[in-house]
């Protein structure tokens, strides 16, 4: 049983893996900043620690990535919270992590999973109770394999493993939920298929609270738990929110067939489309003069290049699935609290703070 129930601070530390990322960093800020628990940060690489070392966290080296290293560094922790992602997150790492947790006497392992793990499901209501099929797309498949390996290793080791399956996480410090769409809308025109499905997304603080709830929920909790924002929006609405931040149009809706053809284009061509180079100094000067003389937003958007999703992104955006929150509410006692307007208000404020132009 996890201690600290009933809102009392935990005495034993929680260990955080992946704390240098956007969601993991916010988790540390909230948990350490509010004194909910001592925090032990297990580092794979000693990069990008500026945000978390503001707090008196216990930094540990887990770069070896084997069960012995994890067991040694997790000793005494009540729960391990994983925001692990990337090419190193494979089945072997999953098994080492679970084995290390079990050996160290950790009560529960909580991992932030990805809705892309259900990528092969394109319609209908998602169900945590059934094993999701392997999704298409290299990144989604890798994440799916890691999550599957965590759950199976947990079954074998008798360790409760909770995979909190989140859609796109947006908000301060997030890449795909803030910096990337902001840059894409600012520098190009983001192409959206007319037939896109709903855009499921959750604000970063809500995702953190779901992870905390999964770490501290009473009783035996194991398996997947889906989370989502209070309501789903459309993909044009998501990217459109960045148009108002940038101050000009940056989204174009194309027929499905046209965008599908572009998405299938040669990767080099797509990369060129997707990452238009920043304008030269001369063009910046001309642009600045133009912006002073032309009413804001009236510069023809066709002059900027298309940002074309790859085939996997296109397929994911076409999915029309419903994300039920019943299990999150029943088992974790969690419901989302930040709606899209409020979330984007904070995201905009963050972007203006982090990258003032």
């Amino acid at each position: 049983m996890v201690d600290g129930l009933g809102g009392n601070p935990l005495v034993r530390p929680v260990a955080v893996l992946g704390a240098t990322g956007a969601v993991g960093g916010r988790f540390v800020e909230i948990v350490a900043g509010e004194g909910r628990s001592p925090v032990r940060v297990l580092l794979h690489r000693w990069w990008h620690t500026a945000r978390v070392v503001r707090f008196p966290v216990d930094l540990r080296d887990a770069s070896a990535g084997d069960a012995d290293a994890f067991a040694g560094q997790l000793d005494g922790c009540v729960a391990a919270i994983s925001f692990v992602d990337g090419a190193d997150a494979d089945a072997a790492l999953a098994e080492s992590l679970v084995e290390g947790c079990a050996r160290a006497g950790v009560d529960r392992l909580v991992h932030l999973g990805c809705l892309g793990s259900f990528g092969a499901v394109t319609e209908g209501r998602l169900d945590e109770g059934s094993d999701p099929p392997r999704p298409a797309g290299r990144t989604a498949a890798r994440r799916w394999a890691f999550e599957q390996a965590l759950l199976r290793a947990g079954d074998r080791a008798g360790l409760p493993v909770v995979v909190v399956v989140a859609p796109l996480v947006y908000g301060p410090f997030t890449e795909q939920g803030a910096h990337v769409p902001h840059a894409e809308v600012e520098r190009g025109r983001v192409a959206i298929a007319r037939g896109s499905g709903p855009c499921h997304l959750v604000f970063v603080d809500d995702a953190v609270e779901a992870m905390w709830a999964a770490a501290t929920a009473p009783g035996h909790v194991h398996g997947r738990v889906l989370i989502n924002g209070p309501s789903s929006i459309t993909w044009p609405a998501f990217f459109g929110a960045f148009e108002s931040i940038v101050g000009r149009p940056g989204v174009v809706v194309l027929p499905d067939e046209e965008l599908a053809a572009l998405a299938q284009a040669d990767p080099a061509v797509r990369a060129e489309l997707r990452w238009p180079p920043p304008p030269s100094t001369g063009r910046r000067v001309v642009g600045a003069i133009a912006r002073r003389t032309v009413r804001r937003g009236s510069i023809p958007t066709r002059r900027r290049r298309l940002v074309v999703p790859d085939a996997d992104e296109l397929a994911a955006r076409a999915a029309r699935v419903e994300v039920p929150l019943d299990r999150a509410a029943a088992v974790l006692g969690w419901t989302p609290s930040v709606d899209f307007d409020e979330g984007m208000r904070r995201t905009e404020a963050y972007l203006r703070w982090a990258d003032p132009r």
């Binding site: 800020e29 990008h48 620690t49 500026a50 070392v53 503001r54 707090f55 966290v57 404020a349 990258d355």
Partner: protein, 314 residues
């Protein structure tokens, strides 16, 4: 970077000293057969001057030992963790009659020496105020076990000392008026420091996770002088008052190796008895250590707005 500068200068080091011989061997590839030693005392008769690029906390004991052994020293920044340590290093240099210089590599950006000469010439009139802004999202200097391991290795110590040194070089010793930062029990990622150099007010913002303009703006009687703080900027000189009779600055590609090359030349010039103005002295190092210590002593909390979940950003 120091080893690279030696190699480009055609200088063969007398010895490479590191407790880990594999690391020394790796660095010593350009010089087959170069002496490799785990500590300086084993090769103390083999060299006259040393470049010390150890972790910060080892600077004081190792540099003092070298000075007492009669060696001239170029030590990486920050020179010392405390002003007491820095003062002890300077005292050891004076007692031994040896040189102690600090590797403040950003001084050796070409535009810095040009601007220093311009300010000293009096062509801009009196300096009315200074505004420096430094930092970037995921600033690289925020990384690395060595930095994190330091008790007070926040942005002020790690990257702020570059600009504090520049301000000291250009305007004289600094006094800390206030320091606001976002440390919550450990290391700050963002700080705003108000300083005085004599009567000149200086505003200095620095960040590890926020894009800043990375320039120093000097407001003078004749107008604004704006200079890049590091070599990542596409242009080094951003603004100079109109009508000032001054030798024009020629923009060049000024990469980091080039700055290390100039720093090495400055140190060898100093060894030859010609101490160039761009080379930081031990006294400069004491001054910076005092400013850092004062910042960390008088710091007040400046929590980022996004820490409070429902806060309204300012």
């Amino acid at each position: 970077m120091h080893v690279g500068a030696l190699e480009r200068a055609g200088v063969t080091p007398a010895a490479l000293i590191d407790p880990d011989p594999r690391r020394s061997a790796l660095l010593g590839r350009p010089w087959p057969g170069v002496t490799i030693a785990p500590s300086p005392d084993l090769v103390v008769d083999d060299f006259d001057a040393a470049i010390v690029a150890l972790p910060d906390q080892l600077h004081a004991p190792v540099v003092i030992e070298l000075l007492q052994a009669g060696k001239d020293v170029l030590v990486e920044k920050p020179m010392a963790g405390t002003r007491a340590e820095a003062a002890a290093m300077v005292a050891a240099a004076a007692e031994a009659g040896r040189l102690l210089a600090v590797a403040q590599v950003r001084r050796h950006l070409a535009v810095k020496a040009w601007a220093f000469a311009l300010l000293r010439s009096g062509a801009l009139g009196a300096v009315l105020g200074v505004d420096a802004a430094q930092g970037g999202r995921d600033d690289w200097i925020a990384t690395g076990r060595g930095y994190v391991a330091q008790a007070a290795g926040g942005v002020i110590v790690c990257s702020g000392v570059h600009t504090l040194d520049l301000l000291t070089w250009w305007f004289g010793p600094l006094d800390v008026v206030s320091c606001r930062d976002d440390a919550r029990g450990w290391q700050e990622a963002n700080a705003t420091i108000e300083l005085l150099a004599g009567a000149i007010p200086i505003h200095f913002e620095l960040s590890r996770n926020r894009s800043r303009r990375n320039t120093i703006r000097v407001d003078t009687e004749r107008g604004l002088l704006e200079v890049a703080l590091d070599h990542y900027q596409p242009r080094q000189l951003l603004a100079v008052p109109d009508g000032v009779d001054v030798e024009p600055f020629v923009e060049v590609v000024d990469d980091l190796p080039g700055q290390f090359d100039r720093q090495l030349r400055a140190f060898t010039d100093a060894l030859d008895g010609r101490w160039p103005p761009s080379l930081a002295t031990g006294a400069d190092g004491v001054s910076i250590a005092r400013v850092v210590e004062d910042c960390l002593t008088c710091r007040t909390s400046d929590e980022p707005w996004w820490m409070a979940s429902a806060a309204t950003p300012s």
